[in-house]
Amino acid sequence: MSETAHEPRNKIAHEPKSTFSQEIAAQPGGEYIRKCIQCGLCTASCMVANYTDKYRPRKMVQKILIGEREEVLSSELPWLCMTCRLCEERCQEGVSLAEIFHVVRDIAAREGHIPKVFKDTVNLVMKDGWLLKGSYTDFEQDDRTSLGLDPDLNWNEEFMKKVKARYFGKEPVEGGEQE
């Protein structure tokens, strides 16, 4: 009898697809991801999960644990976490979900997956030094004056240029379209 007759017909992969969970665990904040026992306490605490069926923090952690690197990094779901941290307060295994999603976002951004709104906002901050320069008009200035507050907000624009140069290269943040 030939050996091939004894080989199983479908090879079942028992390991995770990739070392993605280790990659996450190596970053600060991601250390305890592999302690997750999938109990669902985080999802039950999550307001985003409560109002949208597509978002399940427990499932996202599960995806990371089984190594679905591409799927997780290209998904918009990790960008939906509001970092309210109720899940972190309650997780009994010490899994820091909001921090894990931050790590995922960090990696995703580096690999070119970043939602447009995030990209645009980051670029704006790099340019102006703060977020609302464009929204600060005469009306707002008058409001401040009438309240006895200094209308000159005194924001520093120079430092952000250094930050941009150091961390984001000469060009504004590039990224794939993520809507």
Binding site: T43, A44, R56, K59
Partner: protein, 916 residues
């Protein structure tokens, strides 16, 4: 540690005396009992020590066991019986370990046996004492769900089958009172309207419930524990109410004298000390004669304290009661010599002549017209003599005599009365309420002022010159010495000057026959009140210097006790054993609602200034009752002795004291059990805030037929039977953020058992367990889990509960969870939520570990020497562990460990026996 090593260790212990091989088991739960029985049945002696009044531990609390659903009591109670009957087991319940020294084969253990106040051999647990006990406290055995009395038995099959009185010691009020009036006792009886019995308690200590109820300085109130919460109890006014109530309702029973002793006792002075001493001696049966120099009895109570504070009829009636008891009072009979009295046939004498000689202020002009000392002034007024005073009156001094004199001056018509005191408001010694009343009557207070000259150009008082003072360094009395401010002198015109600068004992009084101090006060032994003349005792102001009525009354009683022992020839003079004074932290203040102290109604200012009618009007019954309700019951048992009267076997003995004992044992087994994790650390689950969220042990008491609801599973909010229940797992276990990362091993199974019981109680109920894992690891456990689902219809949901919300109207609870099997989020309403807490090392284990010189593991459990080969040995030779003290365990495992520990211990005991 192998067997050889153990015997090597024992042989090196070097026992030279023959010791009875015995073991000590600490903890009377199922594991401890097992260990004790196994050691005893090999012929060795075992001490089984348990801190609660009964052995039985947790198994006595729970309803059913898993996985068999056996009735816990049915399995446990034969063990209780066996344990108590085994001739080799000595049960030491209601006891604690105090210290442990020595080593394996030769441990010395000092224990304290707490006083039960019930004779274990006489008590038949008939419970006749329970209905009459007036004290109710939360029932800890029922997890605080119900109440029990101060005299109680934890559960019906308590072993030993005797009741126990929970008495924490002496409450601060009683401990502070110089006359040891049992304030908590009478106040507690007042809560139940038992005024007769309450008054009896007061009269046990003092003959003056009405008198002291008006004039006592109330040291007790300053120490009252209620005062740490809002206001202290109005104790004095409450016993005044008792006396007034009896008078107003003509409830006084005739006093029956019982003078049956032959030894006659003489009392010199019919003041508070003398009357108190005579009263107590007459109650003991002695014939007493009181000699009083003045025309009437009462001492300063009659001759100094004004009538608006103490109406004379009250004083007369209370003194009459003492006379009715068989005491003879001879007025107008001064005594010149106490030795003469002894010669005349009195077997003992009590000298209570007081200290009523006014101190001189030491200024020239003290004798002139217009200047009078306060005590003389008050005596003249109180005896109805006509006293002329001017419009402008100055009173020098800050004590009660000065304030009394000032208020009397107002009533005699003076329009301008000023009290001049050389220190400040903080130091003024008069009773604060007296000062306040004086101020509202218009008396002016000039503090930090002192007279330096009495002005009388034509031999009649025209005024005084005073100087302002400031407070300097403390003097011999410990109070700041007032120092004159140079250049601040001023003159004040006055018609009458009343000097109340203190009193002293009469330097030529009869007490000087005994050895006296330089102040003419008697040198008496502080405990026995014996003077330098044998058979002569003294007390009150004549010993202490001018102080308080209650202290004099207290010393009168103290002297009566001494005289009694002296006359019976019993050696006396040892201080009575110190009773533990209840500490503030020992008083349970958790459920106290704020309530202000009752206000004493007083006569209006205008009407009271016009005559000497009583100013304070007394409490109404309603006020007295609601004031009595504020008492915290510090000592729990209030010593009212109602139980003593009810017990037909005379089994109650309130004089019992804690006892120490030393045990000599060769081996020690720790079987101290567990406590539950405090789940208030999870506020989002609502325990402690929502009434229908309970924990598993509360649930056990609810479904237990001997529990607070007699086994009816009902909601705590409204008593309805819950139609839908949720069980929440892994609370206080498997949680790194609460420092309990380990699994508590028993919660899955006990929750399944509890859920099954819920369905048994109510087959229509919807019962769900919310979990992350179900750990059904033992033999029969998997089947039990299966049976719970199939036969009993318990639902299991894989999804931990994140939060519990309450509907404020229905008190129903909504749990929020993700069903991890479907990924859907749910909000489900239940009528009751039972949280399954993880179990923890018990309280007090760390103290015990220190005594043993043992280090506990980081999680607080006993560290075993080797988990695999010596799982019941601790790291200390000769000390073993079983049950939950080293890790969470279920009942069968605890029992096995108990037998194992017994085996390990008897190896040592056997070697000891071989040596002997």
């Amino acid at each position: 540690m192998t067997t050889e090593e153990t015997s090597k260790q024992n042989s090196s212990a070097g026992q030279t005396e023959s010791k009875v091989p015995a073991a000590l088991v600490v903890g009377g739960g199922v594991a401890g009992m097992q260990a004790a029985l196994d050691i005893a049945s090999q012929g060795f002696k075992v001490y089984l020590l348990e801190q609660s009044p009964s052995i039985g531990g947790r198994m006595a609390m729970i309803d059913k066991t898993f996985p068999t659903l056996d009735c816990s009591a049915c399995i446990l109670t034969p063990r209780l019986s066996e344990t108590s009957r085994n001739p080799n087991i000595e049960l030491l319940t209601y006891s604690e370990v105090k210290s442990i020294t020595g080593e394996a084969g030769d441990f010395r253990v000092r224990i304290r046996r707490k006083a039960r106040y019930v004779n274990e051999k006489k008590c038949s647990a008939c419970a006749e004492c329970v209905p009459v006990c007036p004290v109710e406290v939360p029932n800890d055995f029922d997890q605080g769900l119900g109440f029990r009395k101060a005299i109680y038995s934890p559960f019906p099959q308590s072993t030993p089958n005797a009741y126990t009185i929970d008495k924490k010691g002496e409450p601060p009020c009683r401990a502070t009172c110089p006359a040891h009036v049992n304030a908590q006792g009478f106040v507690t009886l007042m809560k139940h309207g038992k005024y007769d019995e309450a008054l009896e308690i007061v009269r046990d200590a003092i003959p003056f419930p009405g008198v002291l109820g008006r004039v006592c300085i109330s040291f007790c109130e300053a120490e009252c524990e209620r005062g740490t919460l809002d206001d202290s109890m109005s104790i004095r006014n409450l016993h005044r109410f008792l006396a007034d109530y009896e008078r107003e309702n003509n409830l006084a029973k005739p006093v029956v004298p019982k003078i049956d002793k032959k030894e006659r006792v003489a009392v010199v002075g019919a003041g508070p000390a003398g009357i108190s001493c005579a009263y107590q001696l007459a109650r003991k049966g002695y014939p007493v004669t009181v000699f009083e120099a003045k025309p009437e009895a009462g001492g300063l109570l009659r001759y100094a304290i004004p009538e608006y504070r103490l109406p004379r009829n009250i004083l007369d009636e209370e003194i009459q009661r003492v006379v009715d008891l068989g005491v003879k009072i001879k007025v107008n009979t001064p005594v010149k010599s106490v030795r003469d009295l002894l010669a005349k046939g009195f077997k003992a004498v009590f000298v209570g002549t007081g200290a009523s000689v006014s101190n001189k202020i030491g200024l020239p002009g003290e004798e002139i017209v217009g200047v009078i000392h306060s005590v003389e002034f008050l005596e003249k007024v109180n005896t109805g003599q006509d006293v002329k005073i001017g419009e402008k009156v100055a009173v020098i001094g800050g004590g009660d005599a000065a304030i009394d004199a000032a208020r009397v001056a107002v009533r005699l018509g003076a329009s301008d009365v000023t009290v001049i005191y050389r220190r400040s408001n903080i130091e003024i010694p008069a009773i604060p309420s007296e000062v306040e009343d004086a101020k509202s009557e218009g008396v002016k207070f000039m503090m930090l002022t002192n007279p330096i000259e009495i002005l009388s150009p034509r031999g009649v008082l025209t005024g005084i010159r005073c100087v302002r003072m400031r407070l300097g360094e403390p003097d011999h009395s410990g109070r700041s010495r007032p120092v004159p401010i140079v250049g601040s002198e001023f003159t004040m015109a006055v018609n009458t000057l009343i000097l109340g600068v203190g009193q002293s004992a009469n330097p030529r009084g009869v007490q000087t026959e005994c050895d006296c101090t330089e102040y003419a006060t008697v040198k008496a032994d502080p405990v026995t009140l014996q003077t330098s003349i044998p058979g002569v005792f003294a007390g009150g102001d004549v010993v202490l210097g001018p102080l308080t009525v209650v202290k004099a009354v207290g010393q009168g009683r103290q002297a009566a006790d001494s005289i009694d022992m002296y006359l019976r020839g019993i050696p006396f003079g040892h201080s009575p054993p110190e009773r533990h004074r209840v500490q503030s932290y020992e008083v349970d203040k958790r459920r106290v609602l704020p309530a202000k102290r009752a206000i004493m109604a007083k006569q209006g200012i205008r009407s009271r200034k016009s005559d000497f009618s009583e100013v304070e009007l007394g409490f109404s019954e309603e006020t007295a009752h609601s004031e009595a309700e504020r008492c915290l019951g510090c000592a729990v048992c209030c010593d009212c002795n109602q139980c003593v009267k009810a017990c037909q076997r005379g089994a109650i003995d309130q004089s019992m004291t804690d006892e120490s004992a030393e045990l000599s044992v060769g081996a020690i087994i720790i079987a101290t059990g567990y406590r539950l994790f405090d789940i208030t650390a999870y506020p989002q689950l609502g325990y402690g805030r929502y009434s229908n969220v309970i924990h598993a042990m509360e649930y056990e008491r609810l479904i237990n037929a001997s529990g607070p609801t007699k086994g009816h599973l009902i909601r705590l909010s409204d008593g309805r039977i819950p139609e839908s229940m949720g069980f929440i797992q892994c609370v206080g276990a498997r949680d790194v953020s609460k420092d309990v990362p380990y699994c508590s091993r028993v919660c899955c199974m006990y929750a399944i058992k509890n859920a099954v019981m819920a369905r048994e109680h109510n087959p229509d109920a919807d019962v769900t367990i919310y979990y992350a894992d179900i750990r059904a690891f033992g033999k029969g456990f998997e089947q039990f889990y299966d049976m719970a689902q199939t036969r009993f219809g318990v639902k299991f949901v894989r999804g931990r509960v994140a939060e519990v919300a309450e509907d404020k109207h229905t008190h129903n609870l909504t749990v929020r969870y993700e069903d991890t099997e479907t990924g859907t989020l749910h909000d489900v309403e239940h009528e009751m939520i039972v949280i399954s807490p993880g179990i923890q090392p018990p309280e007090g284990l760390d103290d015990l570990a220190v005594e043993l010189g043992m280090d506990l593991a980081a999680d607080g459990y006993v560290d075993v020497a080797d988990q695999i080969v010596t799982p019941v040995d601790t790291k200390i030779a000769g000390v073993f562990v079983c049950g939950c003290a080293d890790a969470p365990k279920d009942i069968p495992d605890s029992v096995s460990a108990g037998s194992a520990a017994a085996m390990r211990a008897t190896i040592i005991l056997n070697n000891m026996r071989k040596k002997v």
